[in-house]
Amino acid sequence: MTQRTDALTHETDADVILRVEDLETHIEVSGGVVKAVNGVSFTIRRGETVGLVGESGSGKTMTLMSIMRLLPVAAARIVGGSIWFDGRNLLAEPESAMRDLRGARIALIMQDALTALNPVLSVGDQVGEPLRYHPDRHQGSTRDRVIEVLESVRIPNPEARLDQYPHQFSGGMRQRVLAAMALGPAPDLILADEPTTALDVTIQAQFLTLMRRLQRETGTSALWVTHDLGVVAQTCDRVNVMYAGRIVERGDVRRILREPKHPYTLALMESVPKLGEKRERLYQIAGQPPDLRKLPPGCAFYDRCPLRMDICREEFPPATPLPDGGAVHCWAVSKETPAAAVASKGPA
């Protein structure tokens, strides 16, 4: 593959472990086709953590599952785009090649450890499973590697706990077992689907700190799907904000959290109560999330956007590059700062 340098981000191919280009995933439902992922493009560099932020229906989980080509239902299909992992287009690979990659080079951490772990298999068996399928990914015996990785996720006394079952572990420890399953074969990329959403806040804090340290130590990249902006701030280097199957804004985490440009990003940040900040009312986004079967040709946020214009309904705005290397898709961005417009229109 010829060496490319991305005009916006100045990334070269060597820097990038994952490049998603114009990904489209559709799901057949009664009453039509849902464009769950509607033209999504982003990159993940080696060693970095990228966030995929959105609410339910935004397409973030489907994007993640598309990368692994593990779409949860037969009615869902990837219909367009490409997914480049370390130079290979995953969408052109046969299933056997995907099996070699899954667990070994791309790993998955799911949301609810209670349902993600098999209750009748011991923890040692389950953490060892990816290691047994991909023996070339580690040195020494499987058992030793399992103990090693359980130690690294701070499971106390791992040798004794190998033969225990998931129900004998607490919620936080089960989540760490999931992380151990993912990390065992030393993958290049971890896909994490809301791994801390079901955890208590103190346990979540432990988990986030642990993951940050492990990633730094191993240089593993990660795609972190979440709806929690606090988690984004603590884990991600860059962020993509999704709405109705599309990315509406992307950029460096500091920039996005301090100066969001897209009205949806801004509204999202405004509507979340923050510790230590006293307000009479929260900013509320008017209306409801859109019906994904009937998306307009233009921007799906149109109905709820305080800055909407006619063109927004007709055409989805192209990327407006931003100084941090990110971009925003909004027709109004060039006219006035969205923050001022939202503030002047007041809470809905």
Binding site: V29, S30, S56, V73, A75, A76
Partner: protein, 292 residues
């Protein structure tokens, strides 16, 4: 993830051949059977009891020697098989309906009580239900009818507990699940009495299960009744009954197959249609299909 859930059900539907669509074929079959059973008096071409020894063992119309007068042939006493089939169907149907009715009247309240109250009451009731369910239906019915006399009443009386037990078990399971839901707790918080909760909240959410179980039980009952009459302890003769007709044709199976075949086919088609419809009902009434 409701989007995905809806996709799953859509997929299931397309794989199973549109399970939400009305199952026309079984409904049609059942319709024919029910109508001919209910209106047997009017629709049957002959008197099912009329003996005519001169025309015994006549073959169905598609054989030499058969005629459209007796389209399905006649039995060893010259009685028209088609008419006997229709009248026999009525017997089966009425019997099944009566048993279901009594079984429901007893079984549903027991199941609701057991599931709602829980604890010791539930344990005691369930042991009783399990005892009944562990009995071999036909054997018990056989003995009972033999001892108590071959009447409609005794047959209905002995078969009802089995239906009641099955319903009690299924309803109890559902009632247990519904009792734990938030909306039931909130109804109690609002001040609803136990009776109100059972009638307005538990029962409607259990109705789906009841309908499906009852439907499937009809099929089972028809088989039981046929078995009983085959064994000679079914409805008292000379009333025609499908099982009895099969028994009557036993000696002639090799040569005059139509005596046993047609009543056998009638049983198969009836039970098949009922089960098909029962399955369809279960799919249609499943609340998980209610998305989007």
């Amino acid at each position: 993830m409701t989007m995905l859930a809806s996709a799953v059900s859509a997929r299931a539907r397309s794989v199973m051949g549109s399970t939400r669509q009305l199952p026309i074929v079984p409904l049609a079959m059942l319709f024919i059977l029910v109508v001919s059973a209910l209106f047997a008096d009017v629709l049957a071409p002959h008197d099912p009891l009329k003996v005519n020894l001169t025309n015994s063992l006549a073959p169905p119309f598609y054989h030499d020697g058969g005629s459209l007068m007796h389209p399905l042939g006649t039995d060893e006493l010259g009685r028209d098989i088609l008419s006997r089939l229709m009248h026999g169907g009525r017997v089966s149907l009425l019997l099944a309906m009566s048993v279901i009715f009594i079984g429901s009247a007893v079984g549903i309240p027991i199941g609701l009580l057991s599931g709602y109250v829980g604890g010791l009451t539930d344990a005691v009731i369930q042991r009783g239900v399990e005892a009944v369910l562990s009995l071999p239906t036909i054997m018990v019915a056989l003995v009972f009818v033999f001892v108590m006399g071959q009447t409609y009443a005794s047959i209905i009386l002995i078969l009802s507990p089995f239906v009641a037990a099955e319903l009690a078990r299924m309803v109890r399971g559902d009632a247990l699940a519904v009792r734990r839901t938030n909306y039931v707790s909130l109804a109690r918080v609002a001040g609803a009495s136990h009776l109100r909760v059972i009638v307005r909240h538990i029962l409607p959410n259990v109705a789906g299960t009841i309908i499906v179980v009852a439907t499937l039980q009809v099929g089972a009952l028809i088989l039981v009744e046929a078995s009983l009459s085959f064994l000679g302890v079914g409805v008292p003769p000379p009333t025609p009954a499908w099982g009895l007709m099969i028994d009557g044709g036993r000696e002639y199976v090799a040569t005059k197959y139509w005596l046993s075949l047609f009543p056998g086919l009638a049983i198969v088609l009836t039970v098949l249609s009922i089960n098909w419809i029962g399955d369809w009902l279960r799919n249609v009434l499943d609340p998980k299909q209610q998305i989007l």
